[in-house]
Symmetry: D3
Subunit: 132 residues, 6 copies
Amino acid sequence: MATVDTVEYDRASPEVKAVYDDIMATRKIDRVPDFWRTVANHPPTLARLWEELKAVMAPGRLDPLTKEMIAIAVSATNSCAYCVNSHTAAAMKLGMDREMLGELMAVVGLFNKTNKLADGYQIAPDVFPPKE
Amino acid sequence: MATVDTVEYDRASPEVKAVYDDIMATRKIDRVPDFWRTVANHPPTLARLWEELKAVMAPGRLDPLTKEMIAIAVSATNSCAYCVNSHTAAAMKLGMDREMLGELMAVVGLFNKTNKLADGYQIAPDVFPPKE
Amino acid sequence: MATVDTVEYDRASPEVKAVYDDIMATRKIDRVPDFWRTVANHPPTLARLWEELKAVMAPGRLDPLTKEMIAIAVSATNSCAYCVNSHTAAAMKLGMDREMLGELMAVVGLFNKTNKLADGYQIAPDVFPPKE
Amino acid sequence: MATVDTVEYDRASPEVKAVYDDIMATRKIDRVPDFWRTVANHPPTLARLWEELKAVMAPGRLDPLTKEMIAIAVSATNSCAYCVNSHTAAAMKLGMDREMLGELMAVVGLFNKTNKLADGYQIAPDVFPPKE
Amino acid sequence: MATVDTVEYDRASPEVKAVYDDIMATRKIDRVPDFWRTVANHPPTLARLWEELKAVMAPGRLDPLTKEMIAIAVSATNSCAYCVNSHTAAAMKLGMDREMLGELMAVVGLFNKTNKLADGYQIAPDVFPPKE
Amino acid sequence: MATVDTVEYDRASPEVKAVYDDIMATRKIDRVPDFWRTVANHPPTLARLWEELKAVMAPGRLDPLTKEMIAIAVSATNSCAYCVNSHTAAAMKLGMDREMLGELMAVVGLFNKTNKLADGYQIAPDVFPPKE
């Protein structure tokens, strides 16, 4: 249902195939998701985005599950159906259960509400930005 | 700078004063932030929102710092200046440092980008929703 | 603070002046707000927008105050500071008081929350669209 | 199609069943909508949200139909398909007809346009916030 | 699947029929798209919107293809599925190919990311607004 | 006014200094804008983002001015004040004048309106996605 045909493995350029191989190896899956096969219509975007995603989602000061839950929070706030779906699946693989999802949704819902109360009442930041 | 005058402690009703007292005691602060003094113009919203916030932000399956970082992610996605400011201050109090904020922003930025790529390319969810 | 200089009455074209005169006469004000003096940089947009606004905000099946409150709801959801400010002022002139604003904000906040819960949980519409 | 299985009445806890009973009695319906059966995966959110919704949507200074139309305005601005669908159905039950919906959409569309003109031209609020 | 029945040509008022005829003649199509047949439920909105669209999308200082690509950028940022779909089709008719769409999506994705970094880090405009 | 102190040139790491030098050389400016000095708090994000921006904004099938106008469209739709400001300045340097900005704003405003009409009336895509 994407705007343009997806780029199938067999007809992909060597550059695109290399990214596909890395996606499947890294994720331990045997089929490249629609998202990546669609983005592959613009090979420089595919390569750059995949490198960025690997680097940003790697374990760091925040662990991978926390990062996936933040991805769900962003995607729900943006109403992106594809993204909520795929990040929820990814977070569940990493151990998020129904109760953790429930807490996450409670936080996401609450702050979408307070964001609009703050903007609707025109409340200015009441402290100077914190400096570390 | 709010739309309506804030409700100052001295002229607040007993119901509002009770919430103010609880906010200051819970947060260990001696002044009620502008947000709450503005919302106090509608006392039932003040009371309900404060109860919700205390319950949702209490330690649970997700810890308070994770919840504050999710609040920053939501507020940045919604471009709410007041909220980004106050949740960043709260997260820093709970131990978020410059590097953790950097990782958080990298995640928030990345998924705001992929959200729009997915919607801009009209990509449909490629798996059935995961069931726990 | 606008991107481009505002178009002042004295240096405006006759076409723009006619819109300015109509704005001041219709709104019973003696100064054209910044918004209109900025939009005037593109005269066809100024003329078309003012005609649309007059038509849409005229009393109809919905009264003008209800329409202004809907304008606040939209502007708060979009985090538009200029717009929240001006529509709140307009609604107050038409009789909205602090308590009505409080109810409005409670509704706006609540449904910004439920919107994200529905999208975050990937809930599909559960009834066929209603037909009148 | 929700992320997690809905909680069916028969396997619900007494706490959840009590909310379900109240939803069906209050709304005079004999089946709990998908939204609530999904949110029920996190019982404290279910209970708190239902209480908030009943309180916020009760007749007050704004009547229930006006509140439902504001809910449509928020949901359309947020592009929440589930929510537009359910609030449109609710507003129609309360008497909104095709012409009123047409006026509502004209207002929602107009101010989504002016919001972006104001932000795109970087127009600052031209009056101090109104004080009641 | 629209909220209200679409207004079919045969049962349309003369006013609505005239707009339909103009849409089909201007666009060289023999069926009025669902969007317009739905908006037709509120005839003044139909007439005003069609006139606005014809005027705004006419060749000017920006050419029609650039305008359609801007429409895609706005629609992707707003996650409007109907609109992304129809503007992508329109841009392709005007000559946008897969590579141009790829560049467009790269730009849209990038700035949705930087927008949130700027707001998430609370960065204030660093120059005074440019004046022409 | 940013959340964290900006990273000044003198105290920057060699890695960050290299990016700063490239920004100033590429843009022909002698001071690194606040945005980049703030993002520099997370050096990998700084380096990756600057490389992405240079690649995406380079002349391609779309010219740099068109890309900057698309950046304005995205930033206005997201209500990002910093971004509208900086992209408007950049587009003006590349030749955008008041009239072109006026046409751009007319397009951005129009489609923010139609996006909400399409979603508010629950209109489904009426054609299958175009395939190139």
